[in-house]
């Protein structure tokens, strides 16, 4: 570090809340905190591309020292690569000795154990593991940043809502990686819509259409992939239990941003979808979806997803109102090139307002907001909103996958659980929640055939 070494001081939490300090035993304050001061220590659990990116964004946060002190993954080479990347970019802030790099299904516990109150763990494993790891972080009293989505079905959503209350009781700060919510342009657009710039919202629509990116489409497991479970984790977009499938992983941001503009969550979803050109693919995803969400006041929000090679790409979210319309996303999550129009056709000549082109990077802003809350000890918990966004996304997926209308209450109270048994994983030999048939295929949703369960 270029900053001089600080004297050994008590951690800020002890200074601020003596009651908490008194309640903590010495055993809960690992040695690693000795260099304390206002250093926030970070542990990274899930060292893939986004996790490594999130850790990097954390290390850019301003307001005091931030250090990466522990890393955990189930794959040694992923962790190695992530460590190498982060060291290249943040040489002075990456302080993860060999003995603080953990591999295995309990590695997350060992990484979290190295943190103390005021520190933050990044949960960027596949979404299916969120409740399990969030629970442990709460037990240990550490703050959390978790990547979206944060639940995949009714039971995991209920679990997360319950855990969220426990986090609040312990004053734990939790950020959820729905970074669009931290986008300055969308925040300004939200205000303008609330102020009536385009009148009352009459309908909304969003599109995400491009060839499948990441791991949603999978060929049969190759022989070199010896562990079924590890392979499913590597290809988490292919499996509902791990990610909620491509529907949840790809669509949640746009579903969330439209609901935000409407200032409400939909109460019902109907949907269609299918597997058009899937060849020998064995994963659980459809390659096209259309979902109609309905709000309490009857307003409709239509979502269209298509991942078919050769078909034109489109990425857009828009809102229509009684006095005009608005662009929420123009061609991607960032930059938020939001604008309002006095017509429904969204032509340049009808432009009312457009956010200046240069906006702060929301992936950095979401970290700054979380770090500020940690340093200032202000209430901060994005989980309830994150669960609702995840839940209504799952509601749309279930509607399309079952061919049945799903209501908010139905999905929330549903007992269909994709990831039963996740808590029992002990190693690569553990059984994953779904298994392949003799041809290597995994169960695929069959709309109309199964209605109270997805597959």
């Amino acid at each position: 570090m270029t900053t001089p070494d600080r004297p050994l001081v008590t951690r800020r939490d002890f200074l601020r809340t003596t009651a908490t300090a008194a309640a903590l035993s010495a055993a809960q304050i690992p040695d690693v905190h000795a260099a304390g001061g206002d250093t926030v220590q970070v542990a990274l659990v899930g060292c893939g591309g986004r996790g490594t990116g999130a850790a990097s964004d954390a290390l850019y946060a301003k307001g005091g020292d931030v250090r990466l002190v522990a890393m955990a993954d189930v794959l040694q080479n992923r962790l190695n690569g992530s460590f190498k990347q982060l060291t290249n970019e943040h040489k002075d802030q990456v302080k993860v000795p060999e003995e603080a790099r953990f591999i295995g299904f309990d590695a997350y516990k060992k990484a979290i154990d190295l943190l103390g109150k005021g520190d933050v763990v990044i949960l960027t494993t596949p979404c299916g593991f969120r409740p399990l790891m969030f629970k442990y972080a709460i037990e240990k009293g550490v703050n959390v940043f978790m990547e979206k989505p944060i639940s995949v079905d009714g039971p995991s959503s209920r679990r997360m809502l319950d855990l969220s209350k426990q986090a609040d009781e312990k004053g734990i700060k939790v950020g959820v990686g729905l970074m669009v919510r931290h986008c300055k342009g969308r925040q300004e657009l939200y205000k303008r819509i609330r102020d009536g710039e385009i009148g009352d919202i009459t309908s909304m629509r969003a599109y995400r259409m491009h060839p499948a990116a990441g791991s949603p489409f999978s060929s049969p497991r190759p022989p070199a992939e010896k562990s079924e479970l590890i392979w499913q984790i590597k290809r988490f977009h292919s499996f509902i239990w791990a990610s909620g499938g491509l529907f949840n992983d790809y669509y949640i941001h746009q579903i969330d941003e439209c609901c935000w503009m409407k200032d409400a969550w939909p109460v019902r979803a109907e949907g269609v979808g299918g597997r058009q050109f899937r060849g020998d693919n064995v994963d659980q995803n459809f390659d096209n979806y259309a979902v109609e969400y309905s709000f309490e006041d009857g307003t409709k929000f239509h979502y269209y997803g298509r991942h078919i090679i050769g078909a034109p790409s489109k990425f857009f979210s828009g809102v229509h109102g009684t006095k005009g319309s608005a662009v929420v996303s123009l061609h991607g999550h960032t930059p938020g090139e939001v604008r309002t129009f006095k017509s429904q056709s969204m032509e340049d000549k009808d432009l009312i307002w457009a956010f200046p082109p240069k906006e702060p990077n929301p992936y950095r802003t979401e970290w700054q907001d979380l770090m500020d809350a940690i340093r200032n000890n202000t209430p901060y918990n994005e989980v309830p909103r994150g669960v609702k966004a995840s839940l209504v996304t799952s509601m749309g997926r279930m509607a399309a996958h079952t061919g049945t209308t799903y209501t908010y209450d139905q999905i929330l109270n549903s007992n269909w659980e994709a990831g039963a048994g996740i808590n029992e994983f002990t190693g690569p030999e553990s059984d994953p929640p779904v298994k392949a048939d003799e041809k290597g295929r995994y169960p695929v949703p069959e709309p109309g055939q199964k209605q109270d369960r997805e597959y």
Binding site: G49, H210, A213, G310, H331, H333, N361
Partner: protein, 392 residues
Amino acid sequence: MGPLHALAILLSLVAQEPRTETVRIPGTDLKFEMVSVPGGKAKLGSPADEPGRRPDERPVHEVELQPFWMSRTEVTWDAFVKYFENRKLVKVDGVTRPSPPYEPPHGKMGVGSHPAVSMRWHGAIGYCEWASTLTGRRFRLPTEAEFEYAARAGATGAGPANAEEVAWFESNAQKKTQLTGTKKPNAFGLQDLMGNVWEYALEFHDGPEYDPVLRGGGWNTPGAELRFAARQQIRSEWYERDPNRPRSMWWLTDGTFVGFRVVCFADAPKKDQDAYLAKLEVTGLKAVEGTKGNARVTGTLKNAGDRTLSEVELTVYYTDEDGKPVFEDNKARPCFSKAWPVLANSDQPGDQPKALKPGESRTFQLDVPQPFDLDVELTKVGARASAVQFSN
């Protein structure tokens, strides 16, 4: 070259229709036009007192180029999308391709006959490899010298005299790419070399570090900067919005003004050239840690055959435990690079490319990007000649 001489060349060029040839990509409905560029001598670079000159530009120097073929326009979105999307429909073994991006990479720009944009250098050279394999011709990116020679087409000024007529740039492009081939061709019959999108050259900007150079200016280039000698590096703000680490080596998040075109040589069939590859020897291969965690690789290339070569393309890669080449890591990131030691620094004054005669050797140096999640050692690398061009 005096002004009268230049004028004579120009007049002789405009007097005859440029020779063109249509290339079709088998298995697709794609076709594009190549234009024959006459060989000759020309002065490239910029005088020290030229307004707007930047320090990385080359001083004025004369080059002599053999005739070559260049695509009439930039590679279009339609063409590039066939390469990067259609892994199964147009399957080509051994060709690396961009991993599909999470958001449409053309952003707000047009598709169809608009120029392809946002790819990084590996995507551009991957396209060349793909088109070469499918057509049996050899395509590659133009060298800086070829690009500037073709862009000038005999012109000696700082930039095109009739910019509004021949180029899409800041004052007329309305902040986006425009359909390729809609502006007036230059004296060689080529279009959009200046403006529309910046175009990748074969070479790296400064030394061998993985940092390619772009030429020609784009839709967002101000008129005063639309200059033949201008060179552009990849800038960090073009990719720093990427929320993942490592950042994509296939796509720029904010590079909708970056594209490329191809050149090709017609004299010997690719299969004859490929048959000669076995006669090229790489010795003294050594790798040390370079900048940005990449391996800096040096070695010597020897022509052990009986033909004189005007260029050799070397592919340098990491090797696994069994010594097998590794071209991509588990996250589909390229971990190889290419070097052209016979063509290297082709536009450097006093450093003209010198053909590699039978029995001759040439040293080379380049940076090879490190893999993300493969346990390879930076020092374990391999190299092989992947393409040659016979001298006339």
